[in-house]
Amino acid sequence: MQPITQIRSHCVVLAQPNIDTDQIIPARFLTTTTKSGLGKALFSEWRYLPDGAPNPGFVLNQPAAAGAEILVAGHNFGCGSSREHAPWALLDHGFRVVVSTAIADIFRNNSLKNGLLPVVVDPDVHGWLLEHPGAELTVDLEALCLTLPTGRAVSFSIEPFARHCLMHGLDELGYLQSRLPEIERYEATLPP
């Protein structure tokens, strides 16, 4: 994985709360056996009309959304299933950061493992972001700081080990494997 330090981009706003993983990527697209190519199915039900044409009313289809790497979403983003296809689809589409007031546990874990930054901010900052779609934001993983175009700097937290891995392009499996001696010692204590 490429190391991540700072992401600078305009944002797209999907204000509604409780956007679940079935909205992010519906189950019928989970029959894939790879991680790639899921971006076109992202938010499929909202993004396309019944005939398959892009829905011009949906924010991701509007010209201002082009190239946006930061998604500002409503409270409790990513609730629902454990499908890692959700962060895969967001990343494949081009998003690298999701900002919300709360991000569901499994989705957050899955995002961190794939280089999609889950950034949780307070309702005040969130409210500002919801009112400023398209705002140019800077997300600094090293400084743990989100900077608004007004110059206001907002700190956020990311689980320290995941942050370390993301900043250095490491994957967590390597670390787990380095603990194999402890794992073997633990297994020796288990009842038969």
């Binding site: 409780n18 189950a27 409790n76 629902g80 454990s82 499994i106």
Partner: protein, 466 residues
């Protein structure tokens, strides 16, 4: 002595390396359940790194999510109709033996929904850590196991190391006093709990359901409750093991036997939360005041008693969007609304007691004209037990479509879908937009309510038919 919650006991017993400020805990996994949809990418990762599965004997594989429920596609010579689903099935049929993992294949008498078969085999046991690439892994917490869903990358971590990197969650006591009234089920209870704490109320927590109403539940009912913990945002929900748990487990194929049973019982009896242990959060609910519950919106927290009417929420665009999707208006009564489809099944309500509940309503009655009733057993074992008890005949006589086991219409991956704009009373766990197929409008309810609504052709109060 420091009083500890059940969660803390199970967590501590599985810490290979405790967490620090810099690193999460390395947590040992006793049982890893896998299925065809979230495992292919994890197997590919193993292959790319030339790694074996570290503990294949702690891994169980089944086929459930994308598999057909029609007998001819399973037992006949009719190929699986969906090519992509057939590919996933073939991939797990190839990967499981290649990595030494036991697979309950398409025609295996033990196959079924992953969260139904592991308990019925006795593989799910108190005090265990259990994970699966599926959010409804919380089901297994009904046995006093710490069980939660993981993503495919983490499936790969467990394959390679039998461990996960985890931060310790907080604890949340859900105290349920009283006794469920007649016609009010475990499903109604968990829907009421989600309605109370909200769909993100449990985020960051492990729930522990406790109190007289929980102790009175059967194991299958406890599984229904724990199953939907994730719909409140909690990755796991747990219930202390007791005599009900031990009676359920005794004599099952993978349960300990002989002296190992006695040793296990001694360990299991020590798991319950110590008197005086502190939880980080709590909520109290009186079961005796509950009614059958039904959802009216597009998440499981948008739920009300079946005799209720849709709340008015002025200036709430989210509520407006949900009601527009559902084709409902504030103030309307739920009872009497016409429906098109009824789905009875899933890891929430696809076990034998759920089918018995449906049969109690359907016996001697028939599905209303124009309504499709799909009944999908949670496992092949549930199917055989239901047939042996005469339930299959009741379902067929009632005009139901009685299928083979699988996740089926809960998420519509296998082609079993509701149809755009149609209303489905469903015993499954999610009423998200499009969950049961494009444009499907889902109303979550108990097997009683689902069966009663199938007979009436409208949303119906099952208490009038019991």
């Amino acid at each position: 002595m420091i009083e500890r919650t059940m969660f803390e006991k199970v967590w501590t017993a599985h810490e290979v390396v405790p967490e620090t400020a810099e690193t999460p805990a390395v947590l040992y996994v006793d049982l890893h359940l896998i299925h065809e949809v979230t495992s292919p990418q994890a197997f590919a990762e193993l292959a790319a790194r030339s790694l074996p599965v570290r503990r294949p004997e702690r891994t169980l594989a089944t086929l459930d999510h994308s598999t057909p429920t029609q007998s001819d596609q399973i037992f006949g010579n009719v190929p699986i109709r969906l090519d992509a689903a057939a590919r996933q099935v073939q991939m797990l049929e190839r990967n499981a033996p290649a990595f030494g993992i036991e697979l309950f294949g398409m025609r295996d008498a033990r196959r079924g929904i992953v969260h139904v078969i592991s308990p019925e085999l006795g593989a799910t046991q108190p005090g265990m850590t259990i994970v699966c690439g599926d959010s409804h892994t919380s089901t297994h917490g009904a046995f006093g196991a710490l069980a939660f869903g993981i993503g495919s990358t983490e499936v790969g971590h467990v394959f390679a190391t039998q461990c996960l990197l985890q931060r310790k969650p907080k604890t949340f006591a859900v105290d349920v006093a009283g006794r469920l009234p007649p016609g009010v089920t475990a499903k109604d209870l968990i829907l009421a709990i989600i309605g109370r704490i909200g769909v993100s109320g449990g985020t960051g927590y492990v729930l522990e359901y406790r109190g007289a109403a929980i102790e009175a539940l059967t194991m299958e009912e406890r599984m229904t409750v724990c199953n939907m913990s994730i719909e409140a945002g909690a990755r796991a929900g747990m219930i202390a093991p007791d005599e009900t748990t031990f009676a359920y487990l005794k004599g099952r194929p993978r349960s300990p036997a002989g002296p190992a049973w006695d040793a296990a019982l001694a360990r299991w009896r020590a798991l319950a939360t110590d008197a005086g242990a502190r939880f980080d959060a709590s909520v109290a609910i009186d079961a005796s005041r509950l009614e059958p519950m039904i959802t009216y919106g597009t998440n499981p927290g948008m739920v009300l008693p079946i005799t209720g009417s849709i709340p008015a929420r002025s200036d709430d665009p989210v509520n407006d969007q949900a009601l527009a999707y559902m084709g409902f208006k504030s103030g309307e009564h739920m009872l009497g609304k016409p429906i098109d489809v009824v789905f009875i099944g899933s890891c929430t309500n696809g076990r034998l007691e759920d089918l018995e509940a449906a049969a109690r309503i359907l016996r001697g009655r028939h599905v209303a004209p124009g309504v499709q009733l799909l009944i999908v057993p949670g496992s092949q074992q549930v199917k055989r037990a239901a047939e042996a008890a005469g339930l299959g005949e009741i379902f067929r006589s009632a005009g139901a479509d009685w299928r083979e086991s699988g996740c089926s219409m809960c998420l519509g991956m296998n082609g079993d879908t509701v149809g755009a704009g149609r209303y489905a009373v469903s015993t499954s766990n999610r009423n998200f937009e499009g969950r049961q197929g494009i444009g499907a409008r889902t109303l979550l309810a108990s097997p009683y309510t689902a069966a009663a609504s199938a007979v009436a052709g409208r949303i119906a109060d099952p208490r009038e038919l019991l």
